[in-house]
């Protein structure tokens, strides 16, 4: 009898912990729960890493290098440490981890309701009901695309896509494409659509600019080395803002090309300010494009300056010389309006971020904006925890290599909660 059957056989008894979701967060925290001897199950709506299996986007790769793709006691062992995994490779990696960790996994088990019943949590699923003393919600920070309300005002003739539906430029109909959002995703869409011969407009709000490589290393390796990724959530000035920052403008590709707004301008992608309104079939963009670019340039220079400081202080200056990057070039008069009909805009792609999807979590842990309330992953409801949320406990929380430290903290907190 394997571990799951063993636990399932004692169906009537109570779990210590129910983990919901078998992505990198759920698997990692399960590994540490096992080490603590806590009796738990990981419930997964589909199979291991289902969200990554569901992604259709052909060219999607991780933003962090293979050598940084680490889980507790499990690292990348392939021949390309500086490469970037495709979605299918990450699925294989996570499957390997689940096997190695002997995750007590219940696959094809969709959780339909989580409630509190006295001191215990009751969990309803498509494979029956359970009780647990604690619950860890690890069902993903990117379960649903965030699409702004303005999407409802678009002309019906415009096809709207989210990153979860996007596959490749071949699926996009003729005409100009409006990509909304200047995150890693938005820039990658704009770049590959333009290179496939489409006219592209990219609406740019606040964004995070950084070069793929700096002074001989991948930027994400510097972010690890300098301790920036380890910065704690309670040391950050404005945590609510920090948790909503878009992903950095990076692309995981073999030739380490720079992807930024200048590289898009070079190939004639049209840049506009943030999409603010739709009026009579005309899209209205903010006149603040120059300023958001200025903010991003200044922040990038501060980041690179802190890497320079680290190299001077800790590496005795031993790294290739400091590099500078041109300021973001913005035309003197970026468009503030675009008529859908006149500009033949037939498609809009919302690269405007994601949010968790927790309609089954019937507990008072949501704020007035529907976001989960938590203090570093610890919910206001005793015994309820989250994993894998952006900047949950550290800057690296939403990255794969960032999950281990969070999982350890959460497991320790949970173990002492159960012990009392």
């Amino acid at each position: 009898m394997n571990q799951v059957e063993n636990i399932a056989a004692q169906h009537s008894s109570i779990l210590d912990v129910c983990v919901i979701g078998a992505g990198h967060s759920g698997l990692a925290v399960s590994h540490l729960l096992s080490k603590q001897g806590l009796r738990h199950l990981v419930m997964e709506r589909g199979d291991v890493a289902q969200a990554w299996r569901d992604r259709k986007w052909d060219s999607l790769r991780l933003l962090t290098t293979n050598q940084q793709t680490r889980l507790p006691e499990f690292a990348y062992k392939g021949s390309d440490p500086h490469g970037f995994m495709k979605a299918a490779e990450l699925v294989a990696f996570l499957e390997g981890f689940a096997q190695h960790s002997q995750t007590p996994l219940l696959t094809n088990t969709k959780v339909t309701k989580v409630r509190k019943d006295g001191e215990l949590y009751s969990i309803s699923s498509t494979k029956g009901d359970w009780q647990a003393r604690a619950v860890i919600v690890a069902s993903g920070a990117c379960a649903r695309p965030k699409v702004p309300a303005i999407s409802r005002e678009f002309p019906a003739s415009v096809t709207q896509l989210t990153p979860l539906e996007y596959r490749s430029p071949a699926q996009i109909q003729e005409g100009r494409v409006l990509v909304v959002g200047a995150s890693a995703t938005g820039l990658q869409f704009a770049d590959e659509l333009k290179r496939a011969g489409r006219d592209v407009t990219l609406a740019v709000g606040e964004h995070v600019r950084m070069p793929r490589n700096y002074r001989g290393r991948d930027i994400t390796e510097w972010l690890s080395l300098t301790g920036i990724y380890d910065q704690r959530y309670n040391e950050i000035d404005d945590i609510a803002r920090g948790r909503n920052i878009p992903s950095p403008q990076l692309v995981g590709n073999a030739h380490k090309a720079i992807l930024d707004l200048n590289s898009l301008t070079d190939i004639d992608v049209q840049l506009t300010g943030r999409l603010m309104g739709i009026n009579n079939g005309v899209a209205q963009f903010s006149g603040s494009l120059k300023n958001v670019c200025m903010l991003a340039d200044l922040k990038m220079r501060r980041l690179l300056g802190s890497i320079d400081d680290y190299i001077d202080a800790k590496l005795q200056g031993k790294a290739p010389p400091a590099e500078t990057f041109a300021d973001t070039r913005i035309s003197d008069s970026p468009a503030t309006t675009l008529c859908f009909a006149r500009n033949a805009i037939n498609t809009v792609i919302w690269a405007t971020g994601y949010r968790p999807d927790l309609p089954w979590l019937e507990l008072p842990v949501f704020d007035h904006k529907g976001q989960v309330k938590h203090d570093g992953g610890v919910a206001p409801e005793p015994g309820l925890y989250f994993m894998g949320l952006p900047l949950m406990r550290r800057r690296k929380s939403s990255y794969i290599m960032g999950v281990e430290d969070d999982a350890r903290d959460i497991t320790n907190h949970l173990a002492s909660y159960l012990a009392n």
């Binding site: 300010g273 309104g277 903010s286 603040s288 300023n291 200025m294 903010l295 200044l298 008069s333």
Partner: protein, 187 residues
Amino acid sequence: MNNVTVDFTNGVNVEALLGAREAFTAAPEAAQFVWRAQSTWKKGTHTQTSVQKFFGLGQEQSHRQVFSYDTDHPEIFASEDIGSTPTEMVLVGLAGCLTAGIATVAEHRKIQLHSVTAAIEAPINLQGILGVDSDIRNGFSSITVKYTIDADASEDEIAALVAQSQKRSAVFDTITNPTNVHVLVNS
């Protein structure tokens, strides 16, 4: 005396603002403000507009006194030029808002300012308001604000002050982004 030495000041009470930010997070309704202005047509293109009352912190508030502004058109438009043009008043608002923001952000970042001046230019094509060419908009075709700032900070730090001020400016936002405007008559 054992007083803490004040290294710098730009005269902005940042503590009060940070306190307000905290209070408004806890009690969002207190953050609902309404700014008001009352205007009266005088003669020709001359209008007088005053501000005094506003709403905020859950109740009616008042400025220390009535502030009054005259707007008119210059003599080249055959007006009496009793005040600045209303379009120039928009620039007044922008300059006031951005500069207040710079001082506030500088205070928060402990940067001593010595002087902050701005020259604002905003081209406008009058063919728009005169209805000569319907493709030309009525408003400014662009606005350029040129700051000259002397402060105890690096060039990038000064640039960051100005950028952050724009990011948090009500007037900058109102100008750069669409706003629904409801103009009612005898209602």
